[in-house]
């Protein structure tokens, strides 16, 4: 066959269009980094001035234009703890069931589809649901219990998915090795599979804590208090929460301008929580993957 007529022109054009396209992609990718830096930088620079020991340990004062955010921090911690108590055991057990017991059958497919669907449900719908079921029907009232259960259900799909993925990553030969030695299925899971999957599961759990601590819509009608300087004494008490507090003082406080400083400070505390959670998760991931390699 005759060689195709080739002008250097075409090759140059190909390379120029590649250069242009790749440059655009690169710029767009780095502008995502710029976005993050802009958001973080803005909130850190504006919020750092508000942070002080008093800010973190005192209740709001003078119509929330002064004082601190201590009750909101405590409230968020209560909600994180409460929702984790509910979602971690159930989520992990559910993940184990899907990967170890119901592998590939219709039940697992059904549960997986339902879990995916649940993760797509908007957080405000969880709020409506939590209000209707926990607050009104079960008569928990606006309480830590109702809020924690709502948040727990919201974070359940995330916990299930990370557990399932972590278990899936473990090679079948380990299971077979254990079973071949006469161990039962449960013993195999307990002694071989779970310890190996543990680091990844922990990483997922930490990320779910990050998610829960920032959610606002689900707690609006189930637990969050507008202003409540008193700390909770039982799980049937209302609490303040950081994300709701930020929403309130930035949109409907008594004096929005006067409370801006507090708003920046609250946003910074929320961002710091997210940063810590992500750094911790990344650190654990790297730490454990290195450990596996050196072993």
């Amino acid at each position: 066959m005759t060689p195709i007529i080739n002008t250097g022109n075409i090759d140059r054009k190909k390379r120029i269009s590649q250069g242009v396209a790749f440059t655009i992609f690169k710029l767009m990718s780095y502008s995502v980094v710029a976005m993050l830096i802009l958001i973080l930088g803005f909130i850190v620079s504006k919020g750092i001035g508000a942070i002080s020991w008093d800010f973190l340990t005192k209740a709001p004062e003078e119509g929330m234009t002064k004082g601190g955010i201590f009750p909101a921090i405590v409230g968020t911690l209560c909600l994180v703890a409460g929702s984790s108590l509910f979602s971690f055991p159930i989520g992990i057990m559910s993940g184990i069931y899907m990967n170890e017991y119901a592998t590939g059958n219709k039940v697992a497919t059904f549960i997986r589809i339902m879990t995916n669907n649940l993760s797509g449900v908007p957080s405000v719908v969880f709020g409506l649901f939590g209000m209707s079921l926990f607050v009104n029907t079960m008569k928990f009232g606006d309480s830590i219990l109702a809020g924690s259960l709502t948040l727990g259900l919201l974070s359940l799909p995330l916990v299930i998915r990370t557990t399932e993925e972590s278990l899936k990553a473990i090679d079948n030969s380990y299971r077979e090795g254990s079973l071949a030695l006469g161990a039962t299925k449960l013993q195999t899971i307990q002694k071989v599979v779970l310890p190996m999957a543990f680091p990844n599961i922990i990483t997922g759990l930490i990320l779910s804590i990050g998610r829960v601590s920032g959610e606002t819509a689900p707690i609006l009608f189930t637990v969050a208090a507008y202003f409540l300087p008193k700390l909770p004494t039982s799980i049937f008490d209302q609490v303040m929460a950081l994300p709701y507090h930020l929403y309130v003082i930035s949109t409907s406080g008594t004096d929005i301008e006067a409370s801006r400083g507090i708003a920046y400070g609250t946003a910074l505390v929320l961002i710091v929580i997210v940063l810590i959670v992500n750094l911790l998760a990344n650190f654990l991931r790297n730490y454990f993957s290195k450990k596996v390699k050196t072993n």
């Binding site: 005759t2 060689p3 195709i4 022109n9 190909k14």
Partner: protein, 259 residues
């Protein structure tokens, strides 16, 4: 080309002192090989001996793998393909490749063959059509697909897909055709069709083929190179390699004592 005249014989492929590393692993050790025009060279050797790695050096496919390094030089028709002024996309037009498993694109049969023309900026419809038909005929596939050029390539059998991939490589009229175990995933009938095809293609192309199949190597090639643990143990006429190899290692391998 004036420089060509000075050479007694024009070498299509001329690899000199080639060493190749995957990060720390020394995959090819001082390979020297010369291939004349319109010859078929078979690369044989046990798995992991470096024969596929060497093949992929000739169209710089190994560039895609992170952390690889090469020293030495590879000349194709006298041009150093690792020279800094060489663009890989231009090189790959001259050096076609057929892979181990048939890998047609999820497009129609026609578009698969036309792909190489289109990415090289050819827009002339009649030219593309003629060239596609010509290539499919050269790949001995025409009678089987002439009525369904617009059907998906995935509808073809494995053997047909592999010949389609050959047609696709031929469409941009390369000078060299690299074949990486082209028949290993195919049934015996398809394999023999591919072998017949290689025999035909020899008239127009210089071919280098990696194979695990001794009979195939002896049937299709003019010269054979035996690789072992990253070294080229022996390179000679195929008849010599299969009847009277110099090295004991070569003999052991072709008689099936190991490998």
């Amino acid at each position: 080309m004036t420089s060509d005249i000075r050479h007694k014989k024009m070498l299509t492929i001329d690899a000199k002192n080639v060493d190749f590393y995957y990060s720390e692993f020394h995959a090819l050790k001082n390979i020297n090989i010369e291939v004349e025009k319109n010859k078929v060279v078979a690369l044989i050797g046990p798995s992991g001996c470096g024969k596929s790695t060497f093949l992929r050096l000739l169209n710089r496919m190994n560039d895609l793998i992170d952390g690889t390094r090469m020293t030495g030089s590879v000349l194709i028709e006298g041009k150093d393909i690792y020279a800094p002024n060489i663009h890989v996309d231009e090189l790959r037009k001259e050096v076609g490749m057929v892979f181990q498993k048939p890998n047609p694109f999820p497009k129609s049969i026609f578009e698969n063959v036309a792909y190489g023309l289109r990415v090289n900026g050819i827009k002339d419809k009649t030219f593309i059509e003629e060239r596609v038909i010509e290539s499919i005929k050269s790949a001995a596939l025409w009678n089987e697909v002439k009525d369904k050029l617009n059907k998906s390539a995935f509808a073809l059998s494995g053997g047909q897909q592999q010949r389609l991939c050959i047609a696709r490589a031929l469409a941009i009229s390369p000078k060299v055709l690299l074949m990486d175990e082209p028949a290993s995933a195919l049934d015996p009938i398809s394999t023999s069709k591919i072998e017949e095809l290689i025999y035909e293609l020899k008239k127009d192309y210089t071919i280098m083929i990696v194979t695990h199949n001794m009979q195939q190597a002896s049937r299709v090639s003019d010269k054979t190179a035996y690789f072992y643990l990253g070294e080229m143990i022996e390179y000679d006429d195929t008849i010599k390699i299969f009847t009277n190899p110099t090295e004991l290692s070569t003999q052991n391998y072709i008689t099936g004592r190991f490998g």
